[in-house]
C-alpha cells in the first residue's frame, strides 16, 4: 500500500514538474520527437529493405545445366549429391524436351524453328532449378553444384544478387547507426533537462532529505518525469508513422518506382513500429533521467 502511494505521489510530482518547467520540458520533448521520427523512418526503411530483399531472395535460383550425354544414372547421382547440401531448399528437374516446350510457348517467332528439333537434334540441356536457403552463400553453393559430375554449367545471376544484398545490408546498417547516434544525443539532452529540473528543485530535495524521505521517494519523480517526456515525445512520431506511412503507401499504390519493389503493407507494420517508438521513447527518457539522478541528486 505504501509503495503504491509512493509511486502514485511520484507520478503526481512528475506530472506537476513537467507542467511547471514547461519550456524545458518542451525542449526535451522536441528533441525526443525529432529523434523518434528519424528512428521511425529508419525502422520503416529497414522493414521495406528487408521485405524487398526477401522478395528478391525468394526469386533467386541456381540453374544447373547437365551435360548433353547425361543419363538417368548421372541424374540420380546429381540428386543424391545436392540432397546432402544443407543450403539447398528445393530443386526441380526439367528435361531438355520440357525446356523446348517452354521456349515454344514463350517465343512465337522461334517456335517453328524450335519445334523442328527432334530428340537427337535438340541442342538444349537437361536442367535443375535449385532454390537455396541462404542467398549470402549462393556463390559457394553454385560452385559446389558445378563440381558434381555431369554438370556442364551453373547460372545464378552472378554478382548482381551479391551486390543488391550488399547494398541493402549497408543501407540498413547506416540507418541503424544513425538512429543509435541520435539516441545517444537524446539521452544527453534528457540528462541536461532533468539536471536543470533537479537544480530548480534543490530546495525541495533538501527538505525531503531533512524530513526523512527515502532515496527512492526522492529519485523516483525525476525518473518518472523522464519517462513521461519520452512518452509525450513519441506522440508525434507515432501519428506520423500511422498516418504518414499509410498515406505514402496509398499514394505510391503499394510499390516504389517499379512493381519489383513492393512496399510493406501498413498493417501491422505501423502498429509494431509505433510500439517500438513508444518503448524507445520511454527507455531513452528513463535512462537519461536515471543517469541525471545518479549524478546530481546527492542523498
Amino acid at each position: 500500500m505504501k509503495s503504491c502511494r509512493t509511486i502514485f505521489r511520484s507520478l503526481r510530482d512528475a506530472l506537476k514538474s513537467v507542467v511547471r518547467n514547461f519550456s524545458l520540458s518542451l525542449a526535451s520533448v522536441t528533441c525526443i520527437t525529432i529523434t523518434l521520427v528519424i528512428i521511425a523512418s529508419a525502422i520503416l526503411i529497414s522493414d521495406n529493405v528487408k521485405n524487398f530483399t526477401r522478395e528478391i531472395e525468394r526469386d533467386v535460383t541456381v540453374v544447373a545445366f547437365l551435360d548433353s550425354e547425361a543419363d538417368e544414372t548421372v541424374r540420380e547421382n546429381f540428386e543424391l549429391s545436392i540432397k546432402k547440401n544443407t543450403n539447398i531448399e528445393t530443386f526441380t528437374f526439367k528435361s531438355k524436351e520440357e525446356v523446348k516446350e517452354d521456349m515454344i510457348k514463350e517465343n512465337e517467332t522461334f517456335s517453328k524453328v524450335i519445334s523442328s528439333w527432334d530428340k537427337d537434334s535438340n541442342p538444349l540441356m537437361d536442367t535443375y532449378t535449385i532454390k537455396v536457403h541462404d542467398v549470402d552463400k549462393i556463390a559457394d553453393t553454385a560452385s559446389q553444384i558445378k563440381s558434381i559430375a555431369g554438370v556442364n554449367s551453373v547460372q545464378y545471376g552472378e554478382g548482381l544478387v551479391e551486390k543488391l544484398v550488399g547494398v541493402f545490408d549497408a543501407v540498413e546498417k547506416i540507418t541503424f547507426i544513425a538512429a543509435g547516434a541520435l539516441i545517444v544525443v537524446t539521452i544527453f539532452l534528457i540528462i541536461n533537462t532533468i539536471k536543470l529540473t533537479i537544480f530548480s528543485r534543490k530546495r525541495e530535495i533538501g527538505i525531503m532529505r531533512l524530513v526523512g524521505a527515502s532515496n527512492g521517494r526522492i529519485k523516483l519523480p525525476f525518473v518518472i518525469e523522464g519517462i513521461i517526456l519520452g512518452m509525450i515525445g513519441s506522440i508525434v512520431p507515432i501519428l506520423a508513422v500511422i498516418f504518414g506511412y499509410s498515406t505514402l503507401y496509398d499514394y505510391f499504390g503499394g510499390v516504389l518506382f517499379s512493381p519489383v519493389i513492393k512496399l510493406v503493407k501498413p498493417m501491422p507494420s505501423v502498429v509494431n513500429t509505433s510500439l517500438i517508438i513508444l518503448v524507445i521513447g520511454m527507455l531513452v527518457g528513463m535512462i537519461g533521467s536515471a543517469r541525471a539522478v545518479r549524478k546530481y541528486v546527492k542523498v
Binding site: 500500500m1 530546495r203 525531503m208 531533512l210 524530513v211 526523512g212 524521505a213 527515502s214 521517494r217 542523498v299
Partner: protein
C-alpha cells in the same frame, strides 16, 4: 538496527556522544573530544561564539556530517556508522528547524507542513488530521491556505516548527530559530517550543546566540568554545555567559 520507541523510552538516554572529534577535509578542526548525554524529554541550549562548533555538532546529529573520531548514538542508532541509504530512517526520528525557515514558497502553509508526511508515505487521511492538529498547536490553523510570503517572520518560523514536529519526532533540533526575529516574537517562538517539549515530550536541542532567551527559559545549557565543551549547566543553574 533501529530500536523501537518503547526501547528509547526505557533507555532514557536519547543522545550519547563519546570522545567525538570532527576535522573538516580542509584540515580545520571543529570539535575536540566531545562527550555529551541528552535524556529523553530534555530541553537543552547549546551556546557559544562563532566557530565554537555548535553547527557542526547539530549537523552530526542529523548526519549531515560524520564524526572524524568517536561515537554518536542517537535513539539507539550509531550515527557515524549509518550508511547513506539508511540516513532517512534516522531523520524520521528527528525534526530540524533553521534560522531561514526553509519553506517552499509555491506551497501553502498547509501544504508545507503536509509535505513532510506526504514524502514519507503517510496516507492522506492521517496527513489531514495531523497537519490540522499541529497547525492548531502553533496557532496557525486560520492561515492554512496562505502562502509563506504573505506571513510574518515569526509566523513562517511557526510553520517551519509545525513541519518539523508534525510526525512527532523524538528529537527536535533548532539551529538559531530566533536569529531573524525580534525579542517579542522570539519569545513567542520559545513558548511554542516549550509547549512542544512538554506536551509531546520531544527532546529539544537548540543552538542560539541569544543569551536573554537562555536566561529566561531556565533550561540545561551547554557552552562550547573553540570546539570544546567548557560548561554544562543543569536546568535552572545558568546565570550568564560571555560568548
Amino acid at each position: 538496527m533501529f530500536v523501537l520507541e518503547k526501547d528509547i523510552e526505557r533507555k532514557k538516554e536519547i543522545i550519547n556522544m563519546k570522545n567525538v572529534y570532527k576535522t573538516y577535509p580542509n584540515g580545520v578542526g571543529a570539535l575536540f573530544d566531545l562527550n555529551l548525554s541528552v535524556y529523553l524529554g530534555e530541553f537543552v541550549f547549546i551556546i557559544g561564539g562563532s566557530g565554537s562548533g555548535k553547527s557542526t555538532l547539530i549537523k552530526m546529529l542529523y548526519r549531515e556530517e560524520r564524526p572524524t573520531r568517536g561515537e554518536i548514538i542517537l535513539g539507539g542508532v550509531n550515527v557515524g556508522k549509518l550508511r547513506n541509504s539508511k540516513v532517512y530512517k534516522l531523520r524520521r526520528l528527528i525534526g530540524v528547524v533553521f534560522q531561514d525557515y526553509k519553506l517552499l514558497p509555491k506551497l501553502t502553509v498547509y501544504e508545507n507542513v503536509a509535505f513532510a508526511l506526504d514524502v514519507t508515505g503517510v496516507d492522506s487521511k492521517t496527513i489531514r488530521k495531523k497537519v490540522i492538529d499541529v497547525l492548531d498547536k502553533v496557532g496557525l490553523k486560520h492561515k492554512a491556505k496562505e502562502y509563506p510570503d504573505t506571513l510574518s517572520g515569526g509566523e513562517q518560523q511557526r510553520v517551519a516548527i509545525a513541519r518539523a514536529v508534525v510526525n512527532h519526532p523524538k528529537i527536535l533540533i533548532c539551529d538559531e530559530p530566533t536569529g531573524n526575529l525580534d525579542p517579542k516574537i522570539s519569545m513567542e517562538i520559545m513558548e511554542i517550543l516549550d509547549k512542544i517539549n512538554k506536551e509531546y515530550k520531544t527532546t529539544i536541542l537548540m543552538v542560539t546566540h541569544d543569551i536573554d532567551i537562555v536566561k529566561k527559559m531556565k533550561k540545561r545549557v551547554i557552552v562550547l568554545k573553540e570546539g570544546r565543551m567548557i560548561k554544562d549547566y543543569k536546568e535552572g543553574k545558568f546565570v550568564d555567559e560571555k560568548l
